[in-house]
Symmetry: C2
């Protein structure tokens, strides 16, 4: 199927996309320069307006790309949650186990992997300073995750209020956000170099313990 000419086209585009994800993730949209991105990708600056219709178009392409990456990570769990019906005490424990699994995915994605760190920086930036690209992230990632988690919380707490469950879901996920947003503060407070596997294990352990204890107290 693949033609050689197509391969070389996608090569330049893909290299720009990879470099853009790095630079946008590191510097933020305004501070990032197309000159830097082009240099990092090893291509000419003029390739950006040529392939992506400018800086903004490149940014949107990055957003679309990372939403797809994130979706891949969680699609199976979202799918499972929207299909299954949980009832009774056994259903509650199942729902809690699923929730813990989802939290684990999010932790490893946002805090653990170096790829996920840059990606989640971009996502969090859009949360704080939404641009026209925010809609893509909301519909493609945030809304599905928040809906899934709040559905599980409704099952676990037997409180049918979607509103209350959504707020609880935000608070619970916030435990994870803290370690991404305030990474520098955590690292300094504990006099670390970064999150190495030992710290990651303890962070994961603590957040999951908190989540389980909290939800059991609401059962």
């Amino acid at each position: 199927m693949g033609q050689d000419e197509v391969k070389s086209e996608l090569g330049t585009q893909e290299r720009l996309l990879e470099a853009a994800m790095d630079i946008f993730g590191r510097d933020g949209y305004e501070s990032a320069t197309t000159r830097n991105i082009a240099r990092e990708a090893g291509v000419n600056i003029a390739a950006i307006p040529y392939y992506f219709k400018g800086k903004e178009g490149l940014y949107r392409a990055v957003i679309t790309h990372i939403v797809q990456m994130a979706e891949t990570q969680i699609s199976d769990l979202v799918q499972a949650i929207s299909n299954l019906t949980y009832t009774g005490d056994r259903g509650k424990e199942q729902a809690l186990a699923t929730l813990v699994k989802m939290m684990e995915k999010i932790i490893d994605f946002m805090v653990g992997s170096s790829q996920g760190q840059r990606v989640s920086r971009i996502i969090l930036r859009e949360q704080m300073y939404p641009t026209t690209a925010y809609e893509l992230i909301f519909k493609g990632f945030m809304e599905p995750v928040l809906n899934s988690v709040s559905t599980l919380i409704i099952v676990i707490t037997e409180d049918p209020s979607r509103r209350t469950a959504t707020l609880r879901a935000m608070a619970i996920i916030g435990q994870i956000l803290a370690f991404r947003v305030a990474r520098e503060t955590v690292v300094r407070s504990l006099d670390l170099k970064g999150y190495d596997p030992d710290e990651m294990d303890e962070i994961r352990r603590i957040i999951l313990e908190h989540t389980k204890n909290l939800l059991r107290s609401l059962m």
Copy 2:
């Protein structure tokens, strides 16, 4: 008294500082322009290098100012915590009550007041993308708060590990961060216009309930 004067009666320096807090909080450091700030303040652009040695100096002045504001909010609690010694079951309950009080302060400051919202946007931005001004925030605000909260957690859980307590503190405070960082997502998910007093009450109630239930489960 008569301190409630309007903006036009403030000096040029103060008007610049107020305007800068607004614009930096809304747009972030790079996106904010000195032109905008000067126009918002109703003063000439040249006043910025004249009084603050340029854009960066103005930003540092804003950071210093907001750290002082934040310190005022929490200094009494930080003071009380560093002085008192809590022991026994009664001590644990006292520590928990103090922790809840501090959480309430932080919620009202970060999520509730419109002033605090702009300020906390700047603080969170420095968390995610630290500049040379980060040190001021860390030493003046983040470190004292994190230390206070983790000290209380050590008393409550009777686990002497400062490291574990600090990580727990981050996770617990993260519940608050979520409503500031992902405000737009919360608002959209619940189809709101913003956080009105009803939502604020429920957010506060839920976070405090989570915090109390969680820490009781760790006693």
